[in-house]
């Protein structure tokens, strides 16, 4: 730092310093507590990269192999840590390559700040080399975005970006910075953003509504809870567990809610939704009070809305007013932060158990076990099932691993069968269903939580969408464990073709490369398993290896994920075969 340029302001305690816009970017990141960022350089962001070189002892830049990888890594980092993930890219193609990850973060409420370089401000709008209107392109998929054309605007824009990304219902933001603004020098001073006039991150809790909710819950004969990621985002796991246990209510989760209370908790009745468990899906249409907590009634959860929980009084706890009555009409809507709302609810609840009602879930589980689970976990046929791989991972990690999945059959199987002892253990692309999410997200997750076992589980399709990130793993020596469940098909699409398109397997069969050779090409230890007898040792080898490891498991080619609610069907029409 050039001390000659330091100039003290007389009547404030803060000092200002004359620095470049690009140095300001880094100083803002440091002030926000960022010590790692994921990105890819290019012309329009080079001044910032040059500063990163100078600051490399304070802030670690991870060169991913594609900008999409950078966003997914930032997401994985954010999802496991609760902190803001940061991705950085150049203008034009660099910026547009971020879009998939941004859209994914938006729909899954993941806090992320993306920084993009932009052509010099005098070139804006002239179709200059590598110019794209990234603010326009990213508008529908960001919580907030802005373009900065002067260095002096950088501190405020960055402060706002971090504040908006992490507050309230979190989400991705994008700050686009022109190249001249990166070069320009100005008097730098940083103040964290404490509020934006037009933005109320957390609606004020209305105690009368909490009382109304408690009254309905206490009077219920057959109450059921469906919780989502809002519990985790609000860091309300303890309050939530206390509510569930005191009220004794059977509780089910959406895929992003997984792990907020352990899978093995006696009141945890499983997953709802298209490939969720039989009992919670069917009994959604039997309960008398449905308590939705931090979930948004996604269509993959509700199936046909016209038949969804029509008999039930609905209570909805959420932070986002736009979610209330969006899909399902509520009787009582409690707006607020989940931690605060659930803490307010707890003392008003009566201590109860619902043995008969709970028995219904157990009875239906027994049916699901006979028809589906038994065959998935303890197959008698030849051909490995995806579920038995998960079972082996559960056993060997004792359910403590963070599971990062891609999208497809393996994702649903992982959500269904992985044991999540801990919160923030299921890192998956829920709302967008982005193939290619898994591997780079696992990199970010492992870097944020190096002490945790992070296992990426992908299909052969999705894995190849971001397979180049093996290069990042190798270069960074990130100790992720990579499992590819290879069925030589785009399995989930193939399943739909089998069930709904007369087995016409249009472009879903995959001729795959030698995955083990590819991993080894990146100097990652690797192994391939084709037989059931080899599985246990292979998983043990993977878990016991320090550093990254690749395991390919060849699974049955035409396995199916059941139960399944066909698109547009009612949750009570869930199919077991």
């Amino acid at each position: 730092m050039d001390t000659k340029t330091i100039k003290k302001e007389t009547n404030t305690t803060q000092t200002t310093e004359r620095i470049s816009g690009s140095e300001a970017v880094i100083r803002c990141l440091l002030a926000e507590g960022v010590d790692i960022l994921y990105g890819y350089p290019g012309g329009a962001i080079m001044p910032v990269y040059d500063e990163l070189y100078k600051y490399q002892d304070k802030i670690h830049h991870v060169l991913t192999r594609h900008e999409q990888g950078a966003t997914h890594s930032a997401q994985g980092y954010a999802r496991i840590s609760g902190k803001v993930g940061v991705a950085i890219a150049t203008s034009g193609p660099g910026a547009t390559n971020l879009i998939t990850g941004i859209a994914d973060a938006q729909i899954d409420s993941t806090p992320m700040v993306c920084i993009t370089g932009q052509v010099a401000s005098h070139l804006l709008g002239s179709d200059a080399f590598q110019e794209t209107d990234i603010v326009g392109i990213s508008t529908p998929v960001t919580k907030w975005n802005c373009q900065v054309t002067k260095a002096s605007q950088i501190p405020e824009a960055m402060a706002k970006a971090f504040y908006i990304a992490r507050s309230g219902r979190p989400g991705p933001v994008l700050v686009d910075i022109t190249k001249d603004a990166q070069f320009e020098e100005f008097d730098f001073k940083y103040e964290k953003c404490k509020g934006v006039r037009s933005y109320i991150p957390i609606p004020k809790l209305d105690q009368t509504l909490v009382e109304a909710a408690a009254k309905l819950i206490n009077a219920a004969k057959k109450p059921m809870i469906v919780w989502g990621q809002g519990v985790i985002l609000g860091e309300a796991e303890a309050e939530f567990k206390a509510v569930v246990e005191k009220a004794g209510i059977p509780s089910a989760w959406t895929i992003l809610g997984a792990g907020a209370i352990p899978t093995t908790h006696p009141l945890n009745i499983g997953m709802v939704g298209m490939h969720g468990n039989y009992a919670p899906n069917v009994l959604t249409n039997d309960c008398d009070v449905l308590i939705a907590i931090g979930m948004r009634f996604d269509d993959r959860v509700t199936g046909s809305l016209s038949t969804y929980a029509k008999q039930a009084k609905v209570i909805h706890f959420d932070i986002d007013p736009a979610e209330i009555d969006k899909n399902v009409k509520t009787d009582v809507a409690v707006l607020g932060d989940s931690k605060e709302s659930l803490a307010a609810l707890l003392p008003l609840l009566e201590e109860k158990t619902y043995p008969e009602w709970h028995q219904k879930f157990k009875d239906l589980y027994a049916i699901e076990y006979e028809k589906v689970i038994k065959h998935d976990l303890h197959p008698t046929k030849e051909g490995l099932t995806m579920a038995e791989v998960l079972k082996e991972i559960n056993i060997q990690t004792k359910g403590d691993a963070a599971i990062v999945t891609d999208v497809g059959q393996h994702q649903m199987i992982a959500c269904r069968y992985a044991n999540f002892n801990k919160t923030r253990s299921n890192i998956t692309s829920g709302g967008l269903g982005t193939m290619g999410f898994g591997l780079p997200a696992a990199i970010g997750a492992k870097m944020a939580a190096p002490d945790r076992e992070v296992i990426s589980i992908s299909g052969d399709g999705g894995y190849q969408m971001t397979i180049q990130e093996l290069g990042t793993i190798f270069q960074q020596k990130t100790g992720v464990k990579i499992v590819v469940l290879n069925n030589e098909f785009l399995g989930m699409v193939r399943q739909w073709q089998e069930l709904f398109f007369d087995r016409r397997y249009a472009s879903t069969e995959m001729t795959n490369p030698d995955f083990v050779a590819i991993a080894k090409g990146y100097f990652i230890e690797a192994q391939k398993v084709t037989k059931r007898e080899e599985l246990k040792d292979a998983v043990a080898k993977m878990i016991n290896t320090d550093g990254p490891y690749f395991l390919e498991v060849c699974v049955e080619k035409e396995g199916k994920v059941f139960p399944m609610i066909p698109t547009g069907a009612s949750v009570s029409e869930v199919r077991l075969e």
Binding site: V135, G136, W144, C146, I164, G195, S198, P321, A322, D325
Partner: protein
């Protein structure tokens, strides 16, 4: 709640920032909602802009739209009103051939009766301006069409609500 489609006037108070028009219009675009009219201008509060948007939809949907609009970080508050809950005006301008002014006496009467006014007259053309409710403007348009209109343009709606919109008190609360 009314399940019938009807005209609603949506008033959106926002920070005066670049890019908001894009964010707000995208909300309508995503849902395939046609905007009947749109006007943006400064509001009664300094540095706060106001969008006045007219849409034809059910109350249920308009509520959801309001939720999505208010969710935008830079939107301060959004309101919606039915036709009887507001007082509104639209404005329009007609350009017509000057000869008509002398050849067609009727035109002068039309202008007078409709409370329109002549903004300017020159050798080739003259310009009529009228502000009023939609129907009044439509009536004037019909009456003048007979004579041939050279150019016609019409503004978006501007509206005030009969009931108070509590935006100022909201902003004060924020300041506190």
């Amino acid at each position: 709640m009314s399940a019938e489609k009807q005209l609603y006037t949506v008033s959106v108070y926002t920070e005066n920032n670049i890019g908001l028009l894009n964010r707000i219009s995208a909300i309508f675009q995503r849902r395939h909602i046609n905007i009947e009219s749109l006007n943006t201008s400064p509001s009664e509060i300094e540095s706060v802009s106001r969008f006045t948007i007219v849409i034809n939809m059910t109350e249920d949907n308009v509520k959801k739209i309001i939720g999505q609009i208010e969710k935008q970080v830079e939107v301060i508050k959004a309101y919606y009103h039915t036709e009887d809950e507001i007082i509104y005006q639209e404005s329009c301008i007609f350009k017509m051939r000057s000869t008509l002014l002398f050849d067609e006496r009727q035109i002068q009467n039309i202008i007078k009766e409709s409370n329109a006014r002549i903004v300017t007259v020159n050798r080739e053309f003259f310009v009529i301006e009228k502000s009023g409710r939609k129907e009044e403007i439509e009536l004037l348009h019909r009456e003048l069409t007979v004579f041939g209109i050279m150019q016609f343009t019409r503004s978006g709606r501007i509206a005030v609500s009969k009931e108070e919109m509590k935006i100022s008190t909201m902003l004060e609360a924020f300041q506190a």
